[in-house]
C-alpha cells in the first residue's frame, strides 16, 4: 500500500508535510545536524543527487545522519484520518492511517482479489467474489460418473474420455466401464473375425468363439510352419529388395548429376574447340586462331623484308668496297707518276751537279717499267733524264672489270690496298 497516494479526510497541518513530495510524511526521518524532517524515501533520493539538506543546504556527509523522527511526529502522521483507497469503488471507510493496512486486508469489501480458477484469474471485488465463484465459467465441477473435479470448460470433453463411463460392446451388447472396454473388444466372443491364416488364402469367416473349432479343421493349420518359413524368407527378400531399390535410386541420382556436369563441361569446352561456333555467336570478334594466323603471316612478311634488306645491304657494301678500291688504285698510280717525276728531277739535278764539278756526266736514261716494286733509294743514284708516266689506264680498266664480275676477288684484294699505299 503506497501511503503517498492516499487521500486525507481533513487538511493536514503544513508542518507535517514533506517539502519534497508535498504530502504528509511517510516514515519520517530527521536530519541530525539541521533538524529538518522529510519522508525517508524522499530525502534518500534527494541526497543521492546532492549531499545537502534541501531546505537550508547544509552539508550532509552520509545517510547515517538521518534519524527516525520523534515519536510525537510519528504518532501525529500515523493518526491522520484517511479515506480507504477503494473509495471510488464504494468503500465508505475512513480511519487512522496506521489502521489502513488492516482495513484493506481484513475488512474492506472493495479490495480486488484474484479469482482462484486457473483459467479465469479475473480481479473481483472481495464483496462479489463468492457470487463470482458460483458462476465463474472456469469454476471446478465434479464429474458425476468418476467423481473427479474438473474445470467446467473441460467437462464435456471429460465426459467422453471419463474412464468410469459405461460403454456398450457393439458385438455382444454387454456394457462395462471405459477402462475395460478396449481389452474386451479384443476378446469379445461375438466379434466377427477371419481365420488367422486368411493371409495365406483361408476364406473362413465367423464369430470369434467359433474360431477354435475352425482352426482344428483348417487345412492351412497343418502347413502353418511351412507358411511361416516362407513368409519369413519373403519378408527378408522384400527388405533386401527395398534396400536395393534405394541403392539404385541413389546411383541413378549420382549418374544424373554426373551427366549434368559432363554436359556442362562439354558445353564450356565447345567454346574453345569450335571457334566458328563462337565466331558466329559473337559478332565482330575475331577468333583466336585467326589472330594467330594473322600474326604468323605478319611474321613471315617481316622475315622476307629482313632478308631483302640484308641482301641489299650486302650489295651496297660491295659497291662501297669497289668504289674505295678503285679510288685507291687511281691514287696509287698517281703517286707512282709523281714519284717517277721526282726521280727524273733528281737525275737531272744530279746531272747538273756533276756537270758543274767538271766531271764527265754519265747520262743514262732509265725507263721504269711502271712496277710498284722499284724503290726510289735504290734507283735514285743512277738518275733519270726524264720520266715516263706508267701506263696506268690498262691496269685500272682490268681491275674495274674484274671487280664487277667477281666481288669475292675484290673483297680479298681490298685489305691489301693500304699496304700498297705505304709504299
Amino acid at each position: 500500500m503506497d501511503l503517498n497516494s492516499i487521500a486525507y479526510v481533513e487538511s493536514v497541518n503544513s508542518n507535517l508535510i514533506c517539502c519534497i513530495c508535498q504530502t504528509p510524511f511517510v516514515d519520517p526521518v530527521v536530519i541530525d545536524t539541521c533538524g529538518h524532517t522529510f519522508c525517508k524515501d524522499c530525502i534518500t533520493q534527494a541526497l543521492s543527487t546532492r549531499s545537502t539538506c534541501p531546505v537550508d543546504r547544509s552539508h550532509i556527509s552520509n545517510v547515517n545522519e538521518l534519524k527516525p523522527a520523534t515519536k510525537i511526529i510519528m504518532n501525529m502522521v500515523n493518526e491522520l484520518l484517511v479515506y480507504c483507497p477503494n473509495k471510488n469503488d464504494g468503500c465508505l471507510y475512513q480511519g487512522q492511517r496506521q489502521l489502513l493496512n488492516f482495513h484493506l486486508q481484513e475488512e474492506c469489501l472493495f479490495t480486488k482479489l484474484e479469482c482462484n480458477n486457473e483459467e479465469c484469474r479475473e480481479m473481483i471485488l472481495k464483496r462479489d467474489l463468492s457470487k463470482h465463484m458460483e458462476n465463474c465459467i472456469a469454476r471446478m465441477v465434479k464429474c458425476e460418473t468418476c467423481k473427479e473435479i474438473v474445470p467446467l470448460s473441460t467437462l464435456e470433453g471429460h465426459k467422453i474420455t471419463c474412464p468410469v463411463k459405461n460403454i456398450e460392446c457393439p458385438f455382444c451388447h454387454t456394457t462395462r466401464i471405459q477402462s475395460e472396454h478396449t481389452l474386451h473388444l479384443e476378446e469379445c466372443p461375438d466379434k466377427y473375425v477371419t481365420c488367422r491364416h486368411a493371409e495365406f488364402g483361408c476364406i473362413w469367416e465367423g464369430l470369434q468363439h467359433d474360431l477354435s473349432d475352425h482352426i482344428g479343421s483348417c487345412n492351412y493349420e497343418s502347413l502353418k510352419e511351412f507358411f511361416k518359413m516362407y513368409k519369413q524368407r519373403n519378408d527378408a527378400l522384400d527388405l533386401e529388395n527395398q534396400q536395393l531399390k534405394t541403392i539404385v535410386q541413389d546411383l541413378r541420382n549420382t549418374v544424373d548429376l554426373l551427366e549434368g556436369q559432363v554436359s556442362a563441361i562439354s558445353d564450356w569446352l565447345s567454346n574453345f574447340i569450335d571457334p566458328k561456333g563462337l565466331a558466329s555467336n559473337v559478332e565482330g570478334e575475331p577468333s583466336i586462331s585467326s589472330i594467330h594466323e594473322l600474326l604468323l603471316s605478319d611474321n613471315d612478311r617481316m622475315k622476307n623484308e629482313i632478308e631483302n634488306l640484308s641482301a641489299s645491304l650486302t650489295d651496297l657494301e660491295l659497291r662501297q668496297n669497289v668504289a674505295i678500291m678503285t679510288e685507291g688504285m687511281r691514287m696509287q698510280e698517281e703517286i707512282h707518276g709523281i714519284k717517277n717525276i721526282c726521280h727524273g728531277l733528281r737525275m737531272q739535278m744530279h746531272y747538273i751537279l756533276m756537270e758543274r764539278r767538271g766531271g764527265e756526266p754519265s747520262v743514262r736514261t732509265a725507263c721504269p717499267k711502271g712496277s710498284v716494286n722499284v724503290r726510289p733509294g735504290l734507283i735514285g743514284p743512277m738518275g733519270l733524264g726524264r720520266t715516263v708516266p706508267p701506263n696506268t689506264n690498262n691496269s685500272k680498266s682490268s681491275l674495274d672489270s674484274s671487280s664487277a664480275s667477281n666481288p669475292h676477288l675484290l673483297r680479298i684484294l681490298g685489305p691489301e690496298s693500304p699496304r700498297k699505299e705505304k709504299l
Binding site: 519534497i20 513530495c21 508535498q22 524515501d41 524522499c42 534527494a46 543527487t49 545537502t52 534541501p54
Partner: protein
C-alpha cells in the same frame, strides 16, 4: 517515470490552479514534460502592465533535478535575462533544491523583475546568444549579483 515525479507535479498543478499566486497563471499543462505559465509585471515596477510567458521543462528526475525554465515569446529586457529567453538565476541551476517548486521559481523570477532598476540587456548578451546551447542548464553560470 517515478511515482514521486507524477504525484508531485499533479499536486503542484492542482495547487497552482486552485490557489494561484498573484500575477501567475498556468496556460498550458497538458503533459508532465513541459508547462507554460504567464507572469505579469508587478504594478509599481518597471514591468508594470507587461505580460511574459515562461516555459518549464521537467526531467523525469524532477524534483531532485531542477526544471529548465526559459522565457518564450516576448522576452523581458533585464540585466539577468538574455534575449534568447535564458535566465541567469542561481536557484534554477546549482542552487536548486527539491523543496523548491514551480510556484517558488515563478515568485523568484517575479521578484527578480520587480527589483530591476534599469531595463537593459545583460552586458555579454550578443556573445552569449550566439554561443548558447538550447538548454540553459548546459551553460556554466557565474552568479555575482546578490542584490536580487
Amino acid at each position: 517515470m517515478s511515482a514521486l515525479f507524477t504525484k508531485r507535479l499533479s499536486k503542484e498543478l492542482v495547487d497552482l490552479k486552485i490557489n494561484p499566486p498573484a500575477g501567475i497563471e498556468v496556460i498550458e499543462a497538458d503533459t508532465f514534460k513541459s508547462w507554460k505559465l504567464t507572469l505579469d509585471g508587478v504594478d509599481g515596477t518597471l514591468y508594470a502592465g507587461e505580460r511574459f510567458t515562461l516555459e518549464f521543462r521537467f526531467s523525469p528526475n524532477y524534483p531532485m533535478e531542477s526544471p529548465e525554465v526559459v522565457f518564450i515569446g516576448d522576452i523581458p529586457t533585464h540585466p539577468h535575462i538574455y534575449t534568447n529567453g535564458h535566465i541567469c538565476l542561481n536557484v534554477l541551476y546549482n542552487q536548486w533544491s527539491p523543496v523548491l517548486s514551480v510556484r517558488s521559481v515563478c515568485l523568484s523570477i517575479q521578484s527578480m523583475l520587480s527589483s530591476c532598476t534599469c531595463k537593459e540587456p545583460p552586458p555579454d548578451n550578443s556573445h552569449y546568444v550566439k554561443t548558447a546551447k538550447a538548454s540553459p542548464k548546459l551553460t556554466q553560470w557565474a552568479f555575482h549579483d546578490d542584490s536580487v
